[in-house]
């Protein structure tokens, strides 16, 4: 006599439709059953009485486990606290859908991230890259652990987000086109000097397809295939290719998935259309190039084979001309495609030059991310040793978390000579003064930020912006920073 086990995912963030793989195992951990669930639906399993292990695996790789005891005549209901994967509801999407490290000890209030800025780059076909302000993003969730927000990217334009700072080597993230795009900027885990201090996480809100991309990136191709088959995503991937007129980004994820899973027959001629109709997206040309390779393998005669190979070469060169692919897998595939041609004909200067340019990106790209993220000075200039500090033209930068005190003074939000105070670990009130040069005079020293002063008292920067207050009126420094964050620097100057 079997009993019902009802499983519900407890999620609060944007990624409610991300697929979670719930598996049931017996006492010896033999597989019993599995289902894909989302935050919108409950799952039910019919189980014989006994003890079971339940494992709910998120697309990010995080997993929740529970022991379930099924007794005769007693249905059981289980809630999986998926929300606990993330330190904040507003960051939940990244911890659910993307393969990112567990939360580390880094804090955006630390000196490393002091004055960290961001700016947007955009380019329309035929035009040069332009900087545009990053202001008032949507869904803002800002905390010392990270800052998450959404941006509406445009159709017909390539867009990138760049961050940098005095201790933050400049880094760029390619953004999906024509999407409400989620971005998380957070301290990376790992020792300084070996790992870039900032992790940039990017995703569209197409959680099913983005999850598919994460599974493929993690090597969980069996799960990706299972998701494709059981959730109807195979049809969805084909459909996205079919409907690319309205959704080129979804189409390119579908294309990469079908290419990855060697499901060429499902791609038909839509890859060519994706490449041709969206001539500003490199990924369409990459996918089309590899499809031509695959087709050439099955070509009925030498002439058609040569023609398909020629088309592949044209596609790869075209892709490189368009810029860096949006999906990291595309950068690898473009490099590999060009390597194939280069190793067959080293005198092909066009291929050699294209390979050198793509090689600049492959050396700078973080291939552990799903979307393309690379270190560099400019969208067209990937660098393994990128610059630090402010760009020469700093009018359109926006601060991400900490706002330098000098800028707060420039904006009028803070007056030179203002008294500030904080309670130390013993509960005693300690006072400091804002200097005209944007430093904080405290205990006989001048600190560059309240975070640095906080660290001098407690050994950590945690809570600095909330704990330090203007003595007059008790306004937390966090309120001043929040008012100036994500505002173009030019707009905040008096």
């Amino acid at each position: 006599m079997s009993e019902l086990l009802v499983v519900k995912l407890v999620m609060y963030g944007q990624a409610l439709s991300a697929p979670v793989n719930v598996e049931i195992f017996d006492l010896r951990l033999n597989y019993v059953a599995s289902q894909w669930l989302t935050g919108y639906q409950e799952g039910s399993f019919s189980l014989e009485p006994g003890t079971y292990a339940l494992r709910a695996a998120l697309p990010s790789g995080r997993a929740f486990e529970k022991v379930i005891n099924i007794e005769p005549g007693v249905p059981v209901s289980v809630s999986i606290p998926v929300h606990e994967a993330s330190p904040h509801e507003g960051h939940e999407w990244a911890y659910v859908s993307r393969d990112i490290a567990a939360l580390g000890d880094g804090l955006l209030s630390e000196d490393t991230f002091g004055g960290m800025w961001a700016r947007l780059w955009s380019r329309t076909p035929g035009a040069p890259w332009m900087v545009e302000p990053l202001e008032n993003p949507g869904d803002l969730s800002d905390d010392e652990d990270g800052v998450s927000f959404s941006l509406n990217t445009r159709a017909g334009a390539q867009m990138m987000l760049q961050v940098g700072g005095d201790n933050v080597p400049w880094k760029l993230a390619v953004l999906p086109p024509d999407k409400t795009t989620m971005i998380l900027i957070r301290p990376a885990t790992g020792p300084a000097g070996r790992v870039h201090p900032v992790e940039l996480v990017v995703s569209s809100q197409d959680w099913q397809l983005e999850s598919l991309l994460s599974l493929l990136g993690r090597g969980k191709t069996d799960k990706a295939e299972d998701l494709l088959d059981k959730n109807g995503l195979a049809q969805e991937a084909e459909q996205r290719l079919f409907s690319k007129v309205t959704d080129p980004y979804g189409a390119m994820i579908g294309g990469y998935a079908l290419l990855h899973l060697q499901a060429l027959e499902r791609m038909h001629h839509w890859a060519a259309n994706l490449a041709n109709w969206f001539d500003w997206i490199p990924d369409g040309a990459v996918i089309h190039g590899w499809q031509q390779f695959e087709l050439a393998r099955e070509a009925p005669d030498d002439a058609s084979r040569e023609q398909l190979i020629g088309e592949a070469r044209t596609s790869f060169l075209e892709a490189q001309q368009r810029g860096v692919p949006i999906i990291a897998e595309g950068v690898r595939r473009l490099r590999d495609g060009l390597l194939m041609f280069h190793s067959n004909d080293k005198s092909d200067q066009e291929v050699k030059d294209a390979l050198a340019r793509v090689g600049g990106y492959t050396a700078a790209v973080d291939f552990t991310a799903s979307t393309t993220v690379f270190t560099g000075a400019h969208p067209d200039e990937p660098l393994t040793e990128p610059p630090l500090g402010m760009p020469d033209d700093d009018e359109l930068i926006s601060y991400v978390y900490d706002v330098p005190l000098a800028d707060a003074i420039d904006s009028g939000a803070l007056e030179p000579g203002a008294d500030v105070s904080v309670n130390d670990l013993d509960g005693n009130t300690r006072a400091g003064t804002i200097n005209a040069d944007g430093t904080l005079a405290f205990d006989g020293n001048d600190y560059d930020s309240v975070g640095a002063a906080q660290k001098a008292i407690t050994g950590r920067s945690r809570g600095a912006l909330y704990d330090w207050k203007l003595t007059e009126g008790s306004m937390p420094m966090a309120d001043i920073a929040r008012a100036l964050r994500f505002q173009p620097r030019s707009a905040t100057k008096r």
């Binding site: 195992f25 006492l27 010896r28 951990l29 033999n30 597989y31 003890t51 292990a53 494992r55 790789g61 997993a63 486990e65 529970k66 022991v67 005891n69 885990t189 790992g190 020792p191 070996r194 790992v195 993690r218 090597g219 969980k220 191709t221 069996d222 799960k223 295939e225 990855h260 899973l261 060697q262 390779f293 695959e294 050439a296 393998r297 070509a299 084979r305 398909l308 190979i309 592949a312 690898r332 490099r335 590999d336 390597l339 194939m340 041609f341 190793s343 067959n344 390979l355 050198a356 793509v358 090689g359 492959t362 050396a363 700078a364 790209v365 973080d366 291939f367 552990t368 393994t384």
Partner: protein
């Protein structure tokens, strides 16, 4: 070149029977680099200052030992292992007695050619290529052979263009192809200013056949270094051996199976267990075309199971115990106990019962069920104050 399995050298493969064929390379001695038998300071202008390695041959040997010790567990039974080693001058302990001390480009090229022919004999063959030694990266990763720099005017002639070689090998008939590369991927300053024309072991053909299951593991992210203890086994290789030995295993039906996708998914976590140091951060990027089984275990894998109290303040007053949940008729489980300290156990994967007893002091006794999954499970018992 030295075939260490089977004893007596590699026979011609039986085209009717799939097998696993391994080519394992560990290069610690570099004759023309600093500290080598014939150093050429002038090649520093091509690559910078690089010296001898003690971990590389030891890592290759450790991997070879694992491959051979698990000969029957591979998805296709082990068919051959070719082990190529070089050791730095005077490091005699790095090589087995009588093993050739030669890992030149020519030696590797010939071994590759023979290994490739063996791999090509059946579509269900598994091809394993392991390399540990010096590496650098520009447009692709480049692996240095023992005689790197032999040609002073073209030192890259004796270096392997890895990614081109991997692309070339994909047309080999063996449908499962694994490349484990434990080498640095730094871009040294001289590399930035030079065109590098390293030699592929195989040139890809345009529109060639592609293997279905290619797996590539690199021991470190681009621009970063691969590390290991002097005279020991490199950390990424230790992690790889643990992954294959069960840390990356998952249940498939009622067997524990190590799949390429499982290694890709867990290798960086396993590396964290190998080198349990917050300041250490080496990531192992992997690329999997399609996941496939590599090994089926004949045992339940071992899991590190850490049991503690939440809050931490409860631990000093707790008597912690942990034992495996068993079915009627199973042998009685071993009870692990910790007096006033957290438990850190190496146990079989499975379900456990963990308890904290306080003798009526401070906190209420608590018992919880725990699932121990490889490679590691951390469980905090929720302790309520009295």
């Amino acid at each position: 070149m030295a075939i260490i399995f089977p004893a007596g050298g590699a026979p011609d493969p039986d085209p009717a029977v799939p097998a696993t064929h391994a080519l394992i390379i560990g290069i610690g001695g570099y004759r023309h680099l600093d500290g080598g038998s014939h150093p050429k300071p002038e090649i520093r202008t091509s690559i910078g200052v690089l010296g001898q390695l003690t971990t590389a041959p030891r890592s290759a040997r450790a991997f070879a030992d694992f491959v051979v010790a698990n000969a029957a567990r591979w998805q296709a039974p082990l068919g051959s292992v070719d082990l190529i080693l070089s050791a730095k001058p005077g490091d005699t302990a790095a090589l087995p007695n009588g093993h050739p001390n030669s890992a030149t480009f020519d030696v590797i090229e010939e071994a590759y050619s023979n290994w490739r022919a063996r791999c090509d004999s059946h579509k269900d063959n598994i091809a394993l290529l392991y390399f540990c030694g010096h590496g650098v990266e520009k447009e692709q990763q480049i692996l240095l052979t023992e005689d790197f720099g032999r040609s002073t005017n073209n030192p890259w002639r004796h270096a392997i263009a890895l990614d081109t070689s991997v692309l070339g090998f994909r047309r080999c008939n063996a449908n499962t192809q694994c490349f484990f590369i434990d080498a640095c991927r730094e871009i040294t300053s001289p590399l930035k200013n030079h065109d590098i024309d390293a030699s592929p072991l195989e040139v890809p053909k345009l529109a060639q056949r592609e293997s279905e299951f290619t797996f590539q593991m690199k021991s470190t992210a681009a621009k970063e270094t691969a590390l290991g203890p002097p005279n020991g086994v490199a950390y990424a290789t230790q992690a790889l051996i643990r992954a294959l030995g069960g840390d990356a295993a998952a249940v498939k039906g009622n067997k524990w199976v190590v799949r390429t996708g499982g290694i890709a998914d867990k290798i960086t976590d396993i590396l964290g267990l190998v080198k349990d140091d917050e300041e250490f951060r080496q990531r192992c990027p992997c690329h999997v075309t399609k996941s496939t089984p590599l090994l089926t275990l004949d045992h339940v894998p071992t899991v590190r199971l850490d049991i503690d109290c939440d809050p931490d303040t409860a631990t000093p007053g707790a008597q912690l115990t942990c034992f495996k949940s068993v079915l009627p008729g199973d042998p009685s489980p071993q009870v692990h106990a910790g007096d006033k300290q957290a438990l850190s156990l190496n146990v079989e994967a499975g379900m456990y019962i963990a308890a904290a007893e306080f003798g009526g002091q401070s906190f209420a006794d608590v018992t919880e069920q725990v699932i121990a999954w490889p490679p590691m499970t951390v469980h905090d018992l929720t302790c309520e104050p009295l």
